[in-house]
Amino acid sequence: MFSLEGITTNVQDWLLMKFNPTMALAIECVIVILLSISLFAILGLVLVLMERKVAAHIQIRLGPNRVGPGGMFQTVADTLKLIMKEGLTPDKADKFLFNLAPFVVMMVGMLLLAPIAFAKNFQIWDINIGVLYISSVSSLSVIGILMAGWASNNKYSLLGAMRSGAQIVSYELSAGFAVLTIVVLTGSLQISEIINAQQNGWWIFKGHIPAVIAFVLYIIAVTAETNRAPFDLAEAESELTAGFHTEYSGMRFALFFLAEYINIFIVCAIGATLFFGGWMPLHIGNWEAFNHIMDYIPSSVWFMGKTFFLIFLIMWFRWTFPRLRVDQLLNLEWKYLLPIRNMFLKEYITDVLTGVTSLLKGMRKTGYYFTHSKEIITEQYPDNRATLLMSDRFKGEVVMPHDANNEHTCTGCTACELACPNGTIKVVTKFETSPEGKKKKAIDALVYRLELCTMCNLCIVACPSDAIKMAPNFEHSVFDRTKLTKVLNQPGSKIREGIE
């Protein structure tokens, strides 16, 4: 079975055999850099697509499904487009900081990859203060955000960045406390030690109530730290248009976009490591057979499975909850997650319980729709053109029916032209001389300007001879506006006999 476990040692042995230790280290560094960049690219594509699909299924629709099989290449197209798009720098922006900011945010994400154990013995740097390293480096991303907000010279950006600063600094505390719980339980700051300590049970099960509370705290705090809804105040689309990255476009915006998802991946990976044992398979007490089967699943699969479960949880939050207000955000942190205000315990518990119940109710509802794909009501338009259920009465455009002899019933009385409130219809008349020598008024052209038409139906009602009617066509898209001016009577057509 394929497993990542032995690869790192093999590679290192081979390199040391071929080169001197310094050279080997340099080559390893290059390999690691290449791997992490490609990991970032792949993760970005996968996570963005996952988010859009999860959102779609929660929202009873299909989501991207046109580009590639099942919409697989949607994010590839998006990325390519963003790379090729013009990268604007506002005139009055601080150009150096403006250009630097997205890279700072990305670099923080890259640094955080170092201590994560992707599989058994598959770790870039098993630093002995791993948890401390993560806590300290993860708070650096706020510098990039503040930089972006300040350098953009945009008030929305500045507000977004300031919010983000307040938010990350506060929530760092409860994330730190949650992580400390596990450090205390394990007795070590090293990631590999923490994972090894969960050999006979993950902390979320083994650590009892403190670990469960720590997990809840952790997941709330990291949702806030990654600026995700319900804590997406730094972007807050309905309030600050796009928050700190309002002025960014093209590739630099893509980096911010990517960094958001990379950060989610990283915090979820750390969460999986701390509370769910990282790559450690699920072991239950002394069920030898069961444990044995679990060991057969590669450790990387365990790790990714747990991480993606947590990522799904965070996405589920996003598509269920409204956003908090900025003062409520800080209240939540300082009064509930860190209960250091003078508050009665009873009041605290009731507040938390009612709040959590209402949130869980909402999540149950969205979860129901996510799991029941029969609730999806999307009609796939260009494919269903043949079966599209359209009302006959739908007012799409005015047409003039002609019979088999190319005859219509329009007398040219201009009732429609008079009834029309905005000059959509223009009747051009001519005088025809009948064989008896009598002059008779007839239409030369009934000019219909679809570009003006408001489908008010007044012309149809006004027409005394039912010469025109509404047709339910709606596919009128054109590249040229003049195409929308039509002559309704067909060339060579004439009025039917007996219509006066």
Binding site: K155, A236, E237, R323, R393, F394, P421
Partner: protein, 331 residues
């Protein structure tokens, strides 16, 4: 590296105590169109709001002066487009009042049902948009699922989904669709079963509650009254839908409508408040002067009053509850 005076060049934008003046709109996702708010901020706290209007001023009132009494109704659909049917009704009522046209019972029943359906559709949209303003995207999709049922009914009967232009002075433009009653009943059943969903997701949600409670005196009440209004609309429709009388759908009217000389006023309750039509007639085929009393304009005027002292996030909540339709304000 950077020069501070260069970045904040225009110091006049900064108020006395380092206040920040930001322009919200005309292109801003929360202004539901092209409202322009000049918001003076102190940190995150709002000190003053100044709405700027006119970004969608289409001179409808002036335009109506050159349209006949049959024609001018259709323009009102484009004002408060979410309750276009009710706007049309208001104008038709005015013409009927002025000319003493008798409207058949059947037309009256259908008018009321369609108006109430429009009201529900409008509130469904409000629910979705409000939740979206507060940062929750999903309720919008659930609300629109029910709204689509209404637009289907509208399309079947009136031939358009949003700007119906189905009401004419004297009655209706044509008769209702044969499936009308069946579809309305199906909608009522569906709607009733889904109301709890909105409650779970929106009104009972702790974040939603804390975002709306105490935000402006009006908004909490509004939020409740919308819910009640939808239920009331459903009750009205239920009472009427089985009892649509047979008969004509349009009363006898002259071909050319002429309002007698004088002043006329009618009002109807749209989804947002009272909509009034005031016409001065000189006895001709077109109004001499027309004035619309649009609910959105009055609602907007309280915005500064209820928002001062609250946060930017609250402004979105207040604007959401006011349910502004900008063309209705600007006309």
């Amino acid at each position: 590296m950077y020069n501070q005076t260069e970045i904040i060049k225009d110091t006049s934008e900064l108020g006395a105590d380092g206040e920040l003046v930001i322009n919200m709109g005309p292109q801003h996702p929360a202004t539901h169109g092209v409202l322009h708010l000049v918001v003076t901020l102190n940190g995150e706290t709002i000190k003053k709001i100044e709405p700027h209007l006119g970004y969608i001023h289409r001179s409808i009132e002036k335009m109506c002066e050159s349209l006949t009494y049959r024609q001018f109704i259709y323009v009102t659909s484009r004002m408060d487009y979410l309750s276009s049917h009710i706007n049309n009704l208001g104008c038709a009522l005015l013409v009927e009042k002025g000319m003493q046209i008798e409207v058949p019972d059947r037309a009256k029943y259908v008018r009321v049902i369609l108006s109430e359906l429009t009201r529900i559709a409008s509130h469904e949209l409000w629910l979705g948009a409000m939740a979206m303003d507060l940062g929750a995207f999903t309720p919008f999709f659930y609300a629109f699922r029910e709204r689509e049922m209404i637009t289907d009914i509208m399309e079947d009967t009136c031939g358009a989904r949003l700007t119906m232009n189905y009401i004419v002075p004297g009655g209706l433009m044509y008769d209702i669709h044969p499936d009308f009653q069946k579809k309305v009943k199906a909608f009522i059943t569906q709607f009733k079963s889904k109301v709890t969903e909105y409650e779970d997701l929106v009104t009972n949600n702790v974040i939603f509650q804390s975002r709306t409670k105490g935000v402006g005196i009006l908004s909490a009440e509004d939020a409740i009254s919308y819910g009640k209004e939808m239920n009331q609309s459903i009750r009205i429709i239920e009472q009427l839908i089985d009892n649509i009388p047979e008969g004509d759908f349009v009363g006898k009217t002259k071909n050319v409508l002429k309002l007698p000389k004088g002043e006329f006023y009618t009002r109807v309750e749209t989804a947002r408040g009272e909509f009034g039509v005031y016409v001065v007639s000189e006895g001709g085929t077109t109004p001499h002067r027309i004035k619309f009393r649009s609910p959105g304009f009055s609602n907007l005027s309280v915005l500064n009053h209820i928002s001062v002292g609250s946060k930017i996030g609250d402004l979105m909540a207040s604007m959401g509850t006011l349910d502004l339709v900008i063309p209705d304000i600007d006309r």
